[in-house]
């Protein structure tokens, strides 16, 4: 058995790892764990990753969680082109700087709209307007920093070439675009960057990775999304309660 990747393309970090593996020709057996059904919170999956989080990588007996750790592991194991995770001291530090900031300011904030627009309503919970507004402000602020501080006048977030940082950022932004956010209006540099990263990855791969999330609103409207399993309810309710 080769490497197995447990993922759901609904989730941003899952897509980042998926795209990275595909783009670099890394052979992976894909195991979809349906997040909306709550399959990540049921026994079968918890035996593999007791934290119940995606993506999860299984390489023989070695099980690894956390998308950034998985990306670094794959880039080292498969010796992918240096630009992804540069060996140069300062260039690599820029990637880690971005990933640190991303974990603080992007990850939690950009995940919320899916809960507001799709997952909450699916289990009959409405997120209060005041929280939605606060999230909108936090998104705006983060985008501003992303454009001014990280992108600046460079072609990519951590320098002259595409890195893991761009991939992680791209997928978080894609999540919001799929939910109808006009992220690039009034942000021409960010828009150009976005085009540049997608062009590098290739339209076909992007489309393949993004098709599920781009159909999510339509599926929600048509009520064709799966029903979450009762075992997933407590974790879902807790997640919604924690929206600041």
């Amino acid at each position: 058995m080769g490497l197995e990747l447990f993922l759901d393309l609904v989730s941003q970090p899952s897509r980042a790892v998926y795209i990275f593996a595909k783009k670099n020709g890394i052979p992976l057996e894909l195991r979809t764990v349906d997040l909306i059904k709550g399959q990540h919170k049921i026994k079968e999956f918890l035996q593999i990753n007791s934290l119940g989080k995606l993506p999860t990588l299984k390489d023989g007996d070695f099980i690894l969680t956390e998308s950034s750790a998985i990306l670094i592991y794959l880039s080292c194991k498969y010796q992918t082109p240096d630009h992804w995770y540069p060996s140069d001291l300062q260039a690599r530090a820029r990637v880690h700087e971005y990933l640190g900031w991303h974990a603080d300011c992007i990850r939690g904030t950009f995940g919320i709209p899916l809960w507001v627009q799709v997952l909450g309503p699916l289990i009959g919970v409405q997120v209060p307007e005041e929280k939605v507004e606060r999230n909108r402000t936090a998104i705006d602020q983060a985008l501003q920093w992303l454009e001014d501080k990280f992108l600046g006048d460079r072609p990519f977030l951590a320098g002259q070439q595409v890195t893991l940082a761009d991939l992680m950022a791209l997928e978080e932004l894609t999540q919001l675009v799929a939910l109808g956010y006009e992220l690039f209006e009034g942000r021409p540099r960010l828009a150009t960057w976005h085009g540049r990263v997608e062009a590098f990855l290739g339209a076909e791969l992007c489309q393949e990775a993004h098709s599920i999330i781009f159909s999510i609103l339509e599926q929600a409207a048509k009520k064709t999304l799966p029903t979450p399993s009762p075992e997933a309810y407590p974790a879902m309710l807790l997640r919604i309660a924690r929206i600041p």
Binding site: S50, C76, Q90, H96, E97, G100, K149
Partner: protein
């Protein structure tokens, strides 16, 4: 000018960077950025880090922010002992995994515990509702359990038989709720023994020195109204 580190030992990631640099005899100029006076919000500091966060590192004309990035940069630049961030692929991945996990979980719990239990009521003079405090402490409890059960398990250190960056980043976090008076290690014998092991590996004097500020935070004089007004938006954004 050599390496400069902009720190305030009140901040948990700053303590991790400070201990790491000292322990590994990395020469640096310490630039104190006094958080409770709001020095990180000053225009002068914005020149160093426009995001107004500590720690920050300056190495000649290279400026770097984010504690994990700084720790990894120092690790590579100064050829420190391998156990901090092992060369071995899987051992290293365990450290990366922990560092990513703590960012979105333990970090938040420890920060909120400190502010809700102590800094809001004592330093800022802002009462915290019993419900909010209870929720914060319950969240901390769950996260500590995960730390013990999923990461520490029966190992000597979080990612294996030796101390690594993961342990340093974790212990400096846990000292936040300890500073607020939470009984973090009570009823958690494995975590308590681990703490002793980390303290011994770091050296007790260095550990004590790095934590003097947080352990005395309960005696900070209350913030005057100007400072409070200046800090409030930052605090609220930080602990949301």
């Amino acid at each position: 000018m050599g390496l400069e580190l902009y720190l305030d030992l009140l901040s948990q990631p700053c303590r991790a960077v400070y201990i790491f640099a000292k322990k590994n005899d990395i020469p640096f100029e310490l630039r104190i950025v006094d958080l409770i006076k709001g020095q990180h919000l000053s225009d002068a500091f914005a020149q160093v880090n426009p995001l107004k966060k500590v720690p920050a590192l300056k190495d000649e004309d290279f400026t770097l922010t984010e504690s994990v990035a700084i720790l990894l940069y120092l690790t590579r630049k100064y050829k420190v002992p391998d156990y901090w961030y092992p060369q071995d692929l899987q051992a290293r991945a365990r450290v990366d995994e922990y560092l990513a996990w703590q960012h979105t979980t333990l970090r938040r719990s420890c920060l909120r515990a400190l502010w809700h239990k102590m800094m809001f009521p004592v330093f800022l003079g802002e009462p915290v509702s019993p419900q909010t405090l209870a929720a914060t402490l319950a969240e901390l409890d769950v996260t500590l359990q995960l730390l013990e059960d999923k990461f520490l398990q029966n190992k000597a250190f979080l990612t294996g038989p030796h101390i690594s960056l993961a342990d340093l980043v974790a212990i400096t976090e846990l000292m936040h709720p300890v500073g607020a008076g939470c009984q973090v290690f009570e009823g958690r014998p494995k975590l308590a023994t681990w703490r002793q092991r980390v303290e011994a590996a770091v050296g007790e004097d260095l550990f004590r020195e790095a934590h003097e500020v947080i352990l005395k935070a309960k005696d900070f004089p209350p913030a005057d109204p100007t400072i409070k007004q200046k800090l409030m938006p930052w605090v609220l954004a930080m602990i949301r």
